[in-house]
């Protein structure tokens, strides 16, 4: 599963420009699904038919946070704006990768005092990007206004710990892919939704389930892991304690019957799990549950340190646990 995770996290796929990663997903799913389609807003939907007429939809968002070019000046320097919840602090002194160029992100300051002031009050308005272009036309041969960029970061493994950019939510995508690769003669039809533009407002997930009739939706996404020095004091989540069954975050409460079924699935598959209460943020479950006349939904989370930084870190143990849990879950009777 390591190769899958590495390839997915290192791929380029900022919100709104996810085509490349979706191709990677389809590559790994080949031979393991009965069909796929792209819906009108670009969500990738795949399925494997089951024996009965029930449907379960598993979702992971395939987009990552990034930057978008909004201005190119006479000297070839770029101005950017955030795509999704990106902190400018995660970019200072780092590199941003565009499809045809890599740039350095830095901050303005005409005096040491101004530099210090800007550094403590960093906004995208006092940052610029240097792609090594000598002037505007050289820059325009490499990027345009409206070109999207992502963290220039790479995947590495430290024993059980995996670090890369965009674990949020490529790790969820990896889990979904692995679930499909492990499905043999499923009881119910399993639909995989690799949805777009989650980071800017759960956009894709509002419509991914529309053309299906799932009984239940489960979103697989990352959650905070507070087990590092002075991590958020009200968060109980930690790496290595297993996948987290989300009870609540700021945008939704997991349907309590789906929570019970997830627990059942974990027990049946002998997968240790943790329960999660997140004090900020939301997942695609908040959107999926609003499809048509409503779909009972929940989120299964992968605890992750340093979310939205270029070095998100997860435990392979939790990831493999999530796969086992979901394979067991889609095999349950799923009576609500």
């Amino acid at each position: 599963m390591i190769d899958l995770i590495q390839e997915l996290t290192e791929s380029y796929g900022p919100s709104g420009r996810e085509e490349e990663v979706q191709k990677v997903v389809l590559k790994y799913l080949e031979g393991h699904i009965d069909g796929h389609k792209f819906d009108p807003v670009g969500n990738l939907l795949v399925w494997k038919r089951g024996r009965d007429d029930k449907e379960v939809l598993l979702d992971a968002h395939i987009d990552e946070i990034g930057l978008v070019v909004t201005n190119i000046d006479d000297k070839g320097f770029l101005r950017v704006e955030p795509v999704g919840g990106v902190s400018p602090y995660h970019y200072v002194g780092q590199r941003v990768k565009f499809p045809k160029a890599t740039g350095v992100v830095y901050y303005e300051g005409e005096t040491p005092e101004e530099q210090k002031k800007n550094l403590s009050n960093l906004t995208f308005d006092n940052l610029f990007v240097d792609i090594g272009a000598g002037d505007r036309s050289e820059a325009e041969s490499l990027v345009s206004i409206g070109t999207f960029g992502v963290y220039d970061s790479y995947f590495y493994k430290n024993g059980n710990y995996l670090t890369s950019k965009s674990m949020d939510d490529r790790i969820g995508c990896a889990v979904l892919v692995e679930v499909f690769r492990n499905l043999k003669d499923p009881r119910h039809t399993v639909i995989g939704s690799f949805s777009v533009q989650e980071e800017i407002g759960l956009v894709g997930a509002f419509v991914s389930a529309y053309s299906f009739s799932p009984q239940i939706c489960v979103a697989v996404d990352v959650t905070d892991s507070a087990d590092h020095p002075k991590g958020l004091k009200r968060h109980a989540m930690a790496l290595g304690k297993g996948p987290a069954i989300k009870i609540k975050d700021k945008m939704s409460i997991s349907h309590r019957k789906v929570v019970e079924l997830l627990k059942q699935a974990a027990q049946k598959a002998n997968v240790p799990y943790q329960k999660e209460v997140l004090t900020f943020g939301g997942t695609n479950a908040a959107a999926l549950q609003r499809t048509k006349e409503g779909i009972p939904s929940a989120t299964l989370s992968i605890p992750t340190r340093y979310v939205h930084s270029p070095s998100e870190t997860v435990s392979l143990n939790d990831v493999e646990g999530a796969v086992k849990l979901l394979v067991s879950f889609v095999d349950l009777e799923l009576e609500l």
Partner: protein, 345 residues
């Protein structure tokens, strides 16, 4: 293509249609377009949806502009006969003082402010707040005012439209400019390949509401939202922070709040603009939102493009557009429709 004359811009700008009270604008548009489209209907929320059948009819293409403008609502009738009011849509209280307004489209009023002579130093520097502002309609008492006005009545700015030096100034270019563009396209009385639904929407300002009920009624394959968008190209901001520039043509959006425009649609719009040498510019800030964000999230989802007439000082009683930009927007939209099924294929 018939010459663009900005035919209806003046009337559209001067009509009162605050979010929730769009009837006057809708009646005007309906009257002008009803003989130039195949059918039209008004839905439960008040959207006006006009239909033109296509020559090939394989796709349903929505062209949307919103009829509502930001304004106010009467929230209380005070004992002294003045009216308390609250904003409908996003209005900065600082643009409101010393202005003429109209209640229910006809009753004149003014929003005054304490004379400068009478203000203490800290008052001079303090921002006005809605709770301290009042509309005066000339009534002497609560009883007299209550004979003319009710709680919940709508109040709009009463700015007159002026056109000179190739520019137009007035209120509500966001988004009567968009409505005017659509009306101009309808005036062409041309038939195109796709089925067209011209959607004149309500309540965009208080949260993209009118567009939320479009999917169920039309089930569109794609959409174009025509907006009056923010310019910001005035001396207050450094150049690299301007969103658009007046005179540089229609602004094409690649991303705004809550939505990244579908790549195929965005690139197709640029291609059409380049093909016909129509002046155009990218919108350079991702702030602000349009009905495109709502369309992407309703029903089965509708991919939408966004084209805007740049406007300075939107959400104030006095904004400005360049008439050349307006004409080029009409041209661009017309040429997009002329591409037929080839557009964003």
């Amino acid at each position: 293509m018939k010459e663009v004359k900005a035919l209806y811009l003046k009337e559209l700008s001067e009509l009162d249609g605050v979010s929730g009270d769009e009837e006057r604008v809708r009646n005007f548009i309906e009257e002008k377009i009803k003989d130039k489209v195949d059918s039209l209907k008004v839905d439960v929320l008040g959207n006006l949806i006009a239909f033109k059948k296509g020559t090939r009819s394989n796709r349903k293409f929505v062209l949307a502009a919103h009829m509502d403008e930001v304004g106010f609502m009467v929230t209380n009738i005070e004992d002294d006969g003045t009216l308390s009011f609250g904003p409908v849509g996003g209005v900065d209280p600082r643009v409101v003082v010393g202005k003429h307004v109209r209640i229910n489209g006809e009753l004149p009023g003014v929003i005054g402010y304490k004379a400068i002579h009478l203000q203490k130093k800290d008052e001079l520097l303090a921002s006005p707040k809605f709770e301290n502002l009042r509309v005066h309609i000339g009534a002497r008492s609560k009883e007299e005012a209550s004979r003319k006005v009710e709680l919940g009545d709508y109040i709009s700015f009463a700015t007159d439209f002026r056109q000179e030096n190739s520019r137009a100034t007035g209120k509500a270019f966001d988004d009567r400019a968009g409505c005017a563009v659509l009306m101009e396209v309808i005036e062409q009385e041309q038939r195109y390949e796709d089925d067209l639904y011209f959607a004149f929407l309500v309540q965009e300002e208080p949260g993209l509401r009118g567009s939320a009920v479009l999917f169920e009624q039309v089930c569109p394959d794609l959409a174009l939202v025509i907006e009056g968008t923010t310019a910001g190209d005035d001396p207050g901001l450094p150049e690299h922070q301007w969103a658009t520039r007046l005179g540089d043509g229609p602004a094409i959006t690649f991303m705004h709040r809550g939505y990244v425009v579908n790549k195929k649609i965005y690139e197709s719009i640029l291609r059409v603009a380049q093909k016909y040498d129509i002046k155009h510019q990218p919108k350079r800030r991702t702030a602000g939102g349009t009905d495109a964000a709502r369309l992407a999230k309703t029903g089965g989802g509708v991919p939408a493009g966004v084209i805007s007439v740049p406007a300075r000082y939107i959400h104030s009683p006095l904004s400005m557009i360049d008439l050349g930009d307006f004409e080029n927007t009409v041209k661009l939209v017309s040429k997009i429709l002329e591409e037929g099924e080839g557009f964003a294929r």
